[in-house]
Symmetry: C2
Subunit: 178 residues, 2 copies
DNA sequence: TCCCAATATCTTGATGTCAAGATAACTCGA
DNA sequence: TCGAGTTATCTTGACATCAAGATATTGGGA
């Protein structure tokens, strides 16, 4: 009986297939980046499942948590929200419309800048997001159970290195969102 | 003059904010999983940019590469394609329709199974995808330039561990795609 | 003070995706 | 041989997202 050799994932199979078909190409980048993409898709499914029981959608959660973690008075501009969630301005307008209609946020003109708007978490919004967040953390912890604490930290560090160039606070780099 | 302390990314700021607002929660899972999600979004933008110059869309690329790397005769069923690309069957039907209309694939009934269909890459589809793939690999290599080869392998290994439970070949686990 | 580029948000139209369910064909055990 | 359950694909309708551009406001330099 043979068991538990180093387990393969779909990316191992995908890379092996490329080596067969295009031995001239170095597909090493896929070992990392294909895994990031695929894992992200799987995660998104998990999130949806976790949220279903809390009557909240994934896109709602993203906006509400950004407000929640900003602290008192739980209020941010649409611009700050779209930078936090990596969506376009049109998408954010639409999201805020629907969250406001659901009573989870309110919208008011920014007294300091007449172009601006401030979006504020309501009590209902806070309750909703707190419950969902606790549950999400529980499930995410399970997904990470295959790695010990040290490995998780190593993974976080490596990912951070890749992320820094994108997140550099308003350096010369523009990530193209507006 | 102070410079180049261990650089922060957006997730560091996000985690710090949570620790302030909800010191009762252990948000460690976000260190890994938030980074995976955010990196994936950034990657998707990069892909779009890389593909724009090859007149190909990201979703087209995903389908065409699956066919390309499957080798002669570059032919797969829609079912195999949706498993490779992690989309639903409705999405795949739609994608194949449009790829066929663009002359990048053909569709024919499966002679072995009258429920089935076989999707085949055309010469035009192959040329398109090969050019785009070479370019994508070039750009992905740049994104990974911040990590040396050893670190990239470590990262790939850690990600694989997280992915295996999702990709386990048709074990008891069902990932919910159909 | 005036003007213009930059900023903040919203609007519009096209498009891709998903969930749910319909249809048809296959498989295997009784 | 029959039928129930499974499998493969497609259809439908709702909906979220994006890109591009419109509108209003601000701020800094001439």
């Amino acid at each position: 009986m043979t068991f538990s050799r180093p387990a393969e994932d779909e990316v191992d199979r995908l890379v092996a297939a490329w080596k067969q078909e295009r031995p001239d190409l170095d597909v090493a980048p896929l070992e990392v980046l294909s895994r990031v993409s695929r894992l992200s898709r799987h995660l998104e499914r998990e999130r949806r499942a976790a949220f279903a029981s809390h009557d909240i959608e994934s896109w709602e959660f993203d906006v509400l948590t950004a407000l929640r973690r900003s602290g008192e008075p739980y209020e941010l501009s649409p611009g700050a929200l779209l930078r936090a969630t990596l969506v376009t301005s049109g998408t954010m307008t639409n999201r805020i419309d629907r969250l406001a209609a659901a009573g989870l946020v309110t919208r008011r003109p920014d007294p300091e800048d007449r172009r601006g708007v401030l979006v504020r978490l309501t009590r209902a919004g806070m309750d909703r997001v707190d419950a969902a967040f606790a549950d999400l953390l529980r499930r995410e912890r399970e997904l990470l159970a295959g790695l010990d604490q040290h490995e998780q930290q190593a993974l976080a560090r490596l990912l951070r290195t890749l992320l820094v160039p994108f997140d550099a606070p308003s350096d010369a780099l523009d990530n193209g969102l507006r």
